[in-house]
């Protein structure tokens, strides 16, 4: 055989971009991006863990610190408040799932006896807005936390804990900020021209990013806040 090694192949309709896997290019790219982001956060978190307990002066995350003048700095991490913000962020992931479902369901007829929940499930604007709002609330919690820490005497310059903590959680916060802006752009598109099942991929990619940022927070919350 083999004489037909390079055969002319009509790739059909020129405008339908056929791909090898059948997946959209953007879907593959976002997974590659997330893989790369894993290494970014792994490096940040490792540095935090390597420097854990190495600070020469306080305030410390989990223990009290008394400085040379006798001033007492209590353990600085506020776990109840951060647990609340963690819950908010986790709920935003749930809202994101519902937003994607709403986009997928757009256009399928509602059953005649549909209740309020069935109707609510069809509103992509509601759930996109909800996700963005919950994400923004998480950022609000973070802003509160940062301000409180600075007021209690912990800045990014104070000690190794301050440098690693603010940089790590700041990087995560920047990722949440990008996510909120992304979701608000989707919401804006939804309000102007409406998102439908044909836009599923666009919403799906935003959702992948959003869930990733959430998962990173679960790791950070466990390693930095919960484990003493």
């Amino acid at each position: 055989m083999a004489s037909h090694a390079i055969a002319g192949h009509d790739d059909g309709h020129a405008h339908t971009h056929h791909t090898t896997t059948g997946l959209d290019n953007r879907k593959i790219a976002i997974w590659a991006f997330i893989g790369s982001e894993c290494m970014l956060f792994a490096s940040l978190i490792s540095t935090y863990l390597i420097y854990k307990g190495k600070s020469l002066v306080g305030p410390y995350p989990h223990t009290e610190y008394t400085d040379a003048s006798g001033k007492v700095f209590p353990a600085i991490l506020d776990i109840p408040v951060t647990s609340a913000s963690t819950f908010v962020l986790l709920m935003s992931s749930l809202a994101m799932v519902l937003a994607l479902q709403a986009v997928q369901l757009k256009g399928t007829p509602l059953p005649a006896n549909a209740g309020w929940w069935t109707r609510a499930q069809r509103s992509s604007q509601l759930w996109l807005g909800m996700t963005a709002l919950l994400g923004a609330s998480f950022l609000g919690f973070q802003a509160y936390e940062f301000t409180a820490f600075v007021r209690e005497g912990l800045t990014i310059k104070t000690n190794l804990f301050g440098s690693t903590f603010f940089t790590l959680t700041g990087f995560h916060g920047a990722h949440v900020t990008v996510g909120v802006l992304w979701l608000m752009s989707l919401l804006w598109i939804d309000r102007t021209r409406g998102l439908g099942p044909q836009d599923e991929l666009v919403v799906d990619i935003a959702a992948l990013y959003w869930h990733f940022v959430d998962v990173v927070w679960i790791v950070i919350f466990t390693l930095i806040y919960l484990i003493q």
């Binding site: 290019n25 893989g35 970014l40 490096s43 600070s55």
Partner: protein, 632 residues
């Protein structure tokens, strides 16, 4: 049936567009590849000039050709330029030009992101190179060890350029890597299974994964350094309890995979050249793929062999020593497979073939001295000496650069439609080969006699004089060799012999289309049924009695053809991406945004904010315009 005679006609224009703006706005992977090639060659010349100045200073004991301070800048910029601005982008030139052609695609997955990568590279490269003209170039070595690079020890703006410049260049590499991963996974022609991909594409595929996994750690290390330098954090402040090895670990977690990022594309290129000029399939294709993947994996587990001298302890030293010895196995497998590829082949000693064979020989020398370093007791004698300099120049010059020259001589006819002059090429090869060995072989001796690297001068009578003088003569030979190459490269664009579509009798898809390729690459997307489609086409029985080479035995659906005519994309109804300068504009915004930080050094906070926010506005505006405009 196709006629296989190369059409003897003048080269058709690769693209209907011309002029400066068409280059700024291009989204064609071939034109972007060409931009990468020219830019990287320019930086290669700058890096080479720096090397020549370094060697002139070291020619004799106690020379005063340059000051110690300038010398620090020269060796730092030589390393930084060669690694980040010459060898990586030369590889990127081939990724851009060849990957879509080798897998039978019309472009990369994200043509505009591709343009963005190039412009970030160019602007970042200029950003990090310009300061040398004002004597404020980075001066702490290409691996910029902190705390040496913190404000305490490097208070000038030199390191600022380095930190910001590398951060910017990282964005370029990452964006390109996401693009090529997607391209290789998703845009292969029908029948182009993973195990039928040309070896260059395979090695590039491995490199893209190394890039996306290795760049984040250095990004984080650079962010820490940037924050320490500009915002007073304590990541590298030893007095505050910081670990002096933090930078070294983060840097080498990147730095060792980086070594394979530099060498694997060259391995891929010679794996194309050797079968072509031996008229035999690559020996042990599958094993070549697996060993490439193996090198990629193991490459992440050997970083601390750069740090044997810092006192990590016997356990860590032993583990990293073991891993380093292990990585020699897949590398050795590749060398034996290349030799076996040539064995009993109809070997043609063309210039690209000579460079490819030189890679095998020279890389083996560098590889063996590398295995010597894997033993911590031996490494303690050799570390930070000229022996190490000899080692990594044998792998980077003897490996990467030889491989890249093999690639340039091999693919120049495809890119330009004309051959590089073979006679000048031979002169270049032999001068290069002799010059390289004369430069770097004596360094083994001066290193073992105790000459430390990075010293700007030395006293006579330590047994180093002769070796240094020889190395300097060798460098001058390399300068002459490179001049011959540049002359050949420029001259052959208009005077070289017409090449035709398949001048070497090669086997892979990129040779089935005219040279230079039309902007749409393939008038019809080919269907592939084996690893060596063009050889199947010329002689259906060429591999009878051998293994199947990925051949499934299913004939293609229609008569085979080799494309010899050039149409326009429009006449064929192929949609092409619009030219757009938005990616270039966005790249400019990114660099402006980062450069605002420089003003913080002089406490010009308002200026810094203005420049940074202005750059951010350009970045966001450019990105918005880019994302909301249609691709094609």
């Amino acid at each position: 049936m196709a006629t296989l005679a190369a059409p003897a006609r003048a080269t058709a224009p690769a693209s209907t567009q011309s002029g400066l703006w068409s280059w700024i706005a291009t989204t064609d992977h071939k034109r972007i590849g060409t931009l990468y090639l020219w830019t990287a060659l320019a930086f290669f010349l700058i890096g080479g000039l720096e090397a020549a100045l370094i060697r002139t200073q070291l020619a004799r004991p106690n020379m005063g050709f340059v000051s110690a301070d300038t010398y620090n800048q020269l060796f730092t910029m030589h390393g930084t330029t060669m690694v980040f601005l010459a060898v990586m982008p030369l590889s990127a030139a081939f990724f851009n030009y060849l990957i879509p052609l080798q897998i039978g695609a019309r472009d990369v997955a994200f043509p505009r992101l591709n343009a963005f990568s190039y412009w970030v590279y160019l602007l970042g490269g200029i950003f990090i190179t310009l300061p040398i003209l004002f004597q404020v170039a980075p001066d702490a070595g290409w691996f910029g060890y902190a705390p040496l690079t913190t404000n305490q020890f490097s208070s000038g703006p030199n390191i600022d350029f380095w930190v910001i410049g590398l951060q910017v260049l990282g964005v370029s590499s990452l964006a390109a890597a996401f693009n090529f991963i997607t391209t290789i996974i998703n845009l292969r022609a029908p029948g182009m299974t993973l195990m039928r991909m040309p070896m260059f594409t395979w090695m590039s595929f491995v490199v893209q994964f190394l890039l996306i996994l290795a760049f984040p750690p250095i990004t984080v290390a650079l962010v820490f350094l940037l924050m320490d330098r500009f915002f007073g954090t304590t990541f590298y402040a030893i007095a505050q309890g910081a670990d002096p090895l933090l930078w070294q670990h983060l840097f080498w977690v990147f730095g060792h995979p980086e070594v394979y990022i530099l060498i694997l594309p060259a391995f891929g290129l010679v794996s194309e050249v050797l079968p072509t000029f031996s008229k035999k399939p690559l020996f042990g294709y599958n094993v070549m793929v697996y060993s490439g993947i193996m090198i990629g994996f193991l490459g992440f587990g050997v970083w601390a062999h750069h740090m044997f001298a810092v006192g990590m302890g016997a356990v860590a030293d032993s583990i990293f020593s073991l891993m380093t010895m292990l990585i020699a196995i897949p590398t050795g497998v590749k060398i034996f497979n290349w030799i076996a590829t040539m064995w009993a082949g109809e070997v043609r000693f063309t210039v690209p073939m000579k460079f490819a064979i030189a890679l095998i020989a020279m890389f083996t020398i560098g590889g063996i001295s590398g295995v010597m370093h894997s033993s911590p007791p031996a490494d303690l004698q050799q570390t930070d000496s000229y022996f190490v300099v000899a080692h990594f120049h044998y792998v980077l010059f003897g490996g990467s650069i030889m491989g890249i020259f093999a690639g340039i001589y091999h693919y120049y006819p495809k890119i330009t439609g004309r051959f590089l002059d073979e006679r000048l090429g031979n002169v270049h090869f032999w001068l290069n080969f002799i010059g390289m060995n004369l430069t770097f072989f004596p360094m083994h001796f001066s290193g073992l006699l105790g000459m430390p690297r990075r010293i700007y001068t030395y006293d006579a009578g330590q047994g180093w004089d002769l070796f240094n003088l020889l190395a300097t003569y060798g460098t001058y030979l390399l300068v002459i060799a490179t001049a011959v190459f540049v002359w050949n490269f420029v001259r052959s664009r208009t005077r070289g012999a017409i090449a035709g579509g398949d001048p070497w009798g090669a086997a892979t898809l990129e040779w089935s289309i005219p040279s230079p390729p039309p902007e749409y690459n393939f008038a019809q997307i080919p269907t592939v049924t084996s690893r060596y489609p063009l050889w199947d086409l010329k002689d259906p029985s060429w591999h009878e009695g051998e293994d199947s080479h990925g051949d499934t035995g299913t004939p293609g659906p229609s008569p085979l053809r080799e494309e010899t005519e050039t149409h326009t994309a429009k006449s064929l109804g192929i949609p092409m991406p619009y030219p757009t300068a938005k990616p270039a504009f966005t790249a400019l915004g990114l660099v402006v945004m980062f450069s605002g930080l420089l003003f913080l050094r002089n406490d010009l906070f308002a200026v810094a904010m203005t420049v940074t926010l202005g750059g951010a506005a350009m970045l966001i505006g450019g990105l918005y315009a880019w994302l909301t405009s249609p691709l094609e």
